[in-house]
């Protein structure tokens, strides 16, 4: 587990190493999930939107229709890693993050709004891609609430780490 919220520097470097190890030398795509109407629940979308300004072909959010993006990536002839980013209640300190590899993403996700992450990750895996989910611990998911300070800080730092990773790829 990484406590990006209060330990910049080493924690960021460790997180980047973990992502680099996961991704190997291939392309890295970021798919941000969540609901920006519910404060910290939109953290994944905010990470993706910030990265989209820098890497429009490698960062997508819930607003882009993630199933279609996953389908497109799965049909590309390239080695790629897809990092889903979403808020997750892990009972940790707000702003903490944790990377969950594909095999540990639970299949019984409850959703009527889009395809479950486990299914999207499985489709990617069958196409030879790597998938994982970066979870961010929220502080508040109040309807129409503001993103909390710790989560805002983590979003900024995660954007920094992921932009280095995406930018370093051929």
């Amino acid at each position: 587990m990484h406590k990006l919220r209060d330990a910049p520097g080493d924690a960021e470097a460790a997180l980047r190493r973990q992502i680099e190890d996961l991704a190997g030398n291939g392309r890295v795509y970021v798919l941000g999930l969540g609901n920006t109407d519910r404060a910290d629940d939109g953290a994944g979308v905010l990470v993706a939107l910030a990265l989209k300004k820098l890497f429009p072909s490698y960062s997508y959010s819930e607003h882009d229709g993630v199933e279609g993006i996953v389908l497109d990536i799965s049909e590309k002839n390239e080695h790629a890693t897809v990092l889903f980013v979403d808020a997750a209640d892990m009972k940790l300190d707000p702003g903490s993050i944790k990377i969950i590899p594909r095999q540990d993403i639970r299949e019984t996700e409850i959703t009527t709004h889009r395809v479950a992450v486990a299914l999207m990750a499985s489709i990617l895996e069958r196409a030879g891609k790597t998938a994982a989910i970066i979870c961010i611990q929220p502080m508040t998911i109040e309807f129409r609430g503001r993103v909390s300070g710790p989560v805002r800080s983590t979003i900024n730092r995660l954007v920094s780490v992921l932009s280095q990773t995406i930018g370093s790829r051929p």
């Binding site: 109407d37 819930e62 229709g65 199933e67 279609g68 997750a88 889009r114 395809v115 992450v117 998911i141």
Partner: protein, 428 residues
């Protein structure tokens, strides 16, 4: 929002569950519990301008976002004395076709189908049905695309406004929709054939009552000014309260509806039962081939109805796209008055959705929203109770009963629909 339990993730966008209490082989009670707190959006929009209302209201749901917006637009335009231009009406039809394809493809294939085929989830189904899953994703992607073209973006698009559209789809975008929808028709036909080939358990069968809008011009469609009831009656949408009679129950935050003290069903099956004779194209042929009296008593046929309806939506898109392309962009129609009331009724993918507004001095004085899931809850519980009683009498074990109940709940495509483990069985 996710919950993480050591290695596991769970996403909950509508928190609910089913509790079945058993005493031996007797079913003491079946309750569909909606735990998610009321969002109080009807209160939130009081005092807002109608323009602000249509921005806030779709936040109720991210998958029926355009249905909520369209229903609100219809109610508010009536209240404000606006008759929108023909091009606006037809472009709104197109956006509803997109939402229908997007939602029905997700529900039929990825939520309902695994139950019928004996898989715990769509993930487990991948090994044997990868092509079908990918086909569903292609259909969903296209539905999302049509929603984005018409409403401005996939979720909570702001382009449909009171009295018109901010911007109409370009000829190029409409030509692409025409081409792609035509290409996807064989995929939708395959879906209908697959759902028609499934075995539909009969444990939940009972006499049912169905309601849907009556689309104008004796056509099939997703909006109208009156409600058709399968008992032959027709009611003006302004009298919606006579149909829905909302009430609350102690075990759920969600409101309930009864018609003449009896539960009823809204959804794709209701639409096809009430308006199926109006279908055209291959959708009509396949409906005629696969419709039977069983649809009138078994809610599981809602899945097949959704597949047929998705085909109709795709077949209908080229004509609608042509109509939109052939018209000049009209200016936005402005409000004729600042005081008034109006009710909008549209067919969201999971059933009839009402939005009623009272507007005073140009501001929302009162709002009333009745969702399809709220209308269906009593019928879901009724059919689940029958299912549990009959399956237990038939010697089925708890796991089989649980699956049977989940299939019934999921068939209604409720907003709290979930992938698995919807049902808790309690033994006294």
């Amino acid at each position: 929002m996710r919950e993480l339990n050591v290695e596991a993730l769970a996403r909950v966008e509508g928190d609910g569950g089913i509790t079945v209490t058993l005493d031996g082989k007797k079913v003491k009670s079946v309750t569909l519990d909606v735990h998610e707190g009321p969002r109080l959006i009807e209160q939130l929009v009081r005092g807002m301008t109608p323009e602000d209302d249509i921005t806030v209201i779709p936040r109720i749901c991210a998958i029926c976002t355009l249905s909520h917006r369209y229903s609100a637009l219809r109610g508010l335009e009536k209240a404000l004395g606006i008759d929108p231009p023909e091009k606006t009406k037809i472009t709104r039809e197109l956006m509803m076709l997109g939402e229908n394809v997007e939602s029905n493809s997700l529900h039929t294939f990825l939520l309902a189908l695994p139950d019928f085929l004996g898989y715990p989830s769509a993930v487990a189904m991948l090994n044997d049905y990868a092509d079908d899953v990918k086909r569903a994703l292609r259909l969903k992607k296209f539905g999302n695309h049509v929603m984005a073209v018409t409403s401005g973006r996939i979720v909570h698009g702001e382009n449909p406004v009171i009295g018109g559209f901010g911007k109409y789809p370009t000829k190029k975008a409409l030509d692409e929709i025409k081409l792609k929808s035509h290409e996807l028709v064989p995929d939708a036909v395959r879906d209908v054939e697959l759902f028609a080939s499934l075995e539909y358990p009969t444990y939940s069968e009972a006499e049912m009552l169905f309601m849907s809008v009556n689309a104008p011009k004796n056509q099939f469609g997703f909006a109208g000014e009156s409600i058709l009831i399968s008992n032959g009656k027709e009611v003006n949408v302004e009298d919606y309260k006579k149909l829905t009679n909302e009430r609350v129950v102690s075990h759920s935050f969600a409101k309930r509806s009864l018609y003449q003290d009896k539960p009823f069903t809204v959804g794709a099956n209701a639409r096809l039962i009430n308006m199926g004779k109006r279908l055209d194209g291959q959708a009509k042929d396949l409906f005629n081939e696969h419709y039977s009296e069983d649809w009138l008593k078994n809610p599981l046929y809602n899945n097949l109805a959704q597949a047929i309806e998705m085909l109709w939506s795709l077949e209908h898109m080229p004509d609608i796209a042509d109509q939109v392309a052939s018209m000049e962009d009209p200016p936005i129609e402005l409000a004729k008055r600042k005081n008034g009331s109006g009710t909008g009724a549209v067919e969201a993918p999971r059933g009839t959705l009402y939005h009623h507004y009272d507007v005073k001095d140009g501001l929302i004085e009162a709002a009333d929203i009745i969702t399809p899931t709220a209308q269906n809850l009593d019928d879901i519980e009724r059919h689940m109770k029958l299912t549990a009683e009959r399956m237990l009498a038939d010697g089925k074990n708890d796991d089989e009963v649980r699956l049977g109940l989940e299939m019934v709940a999921r068939a209604y495509d409720p907003c709290i629909s979930c992938a698995t483990h919807l049902v808790t069985l309690k033994r006294l």
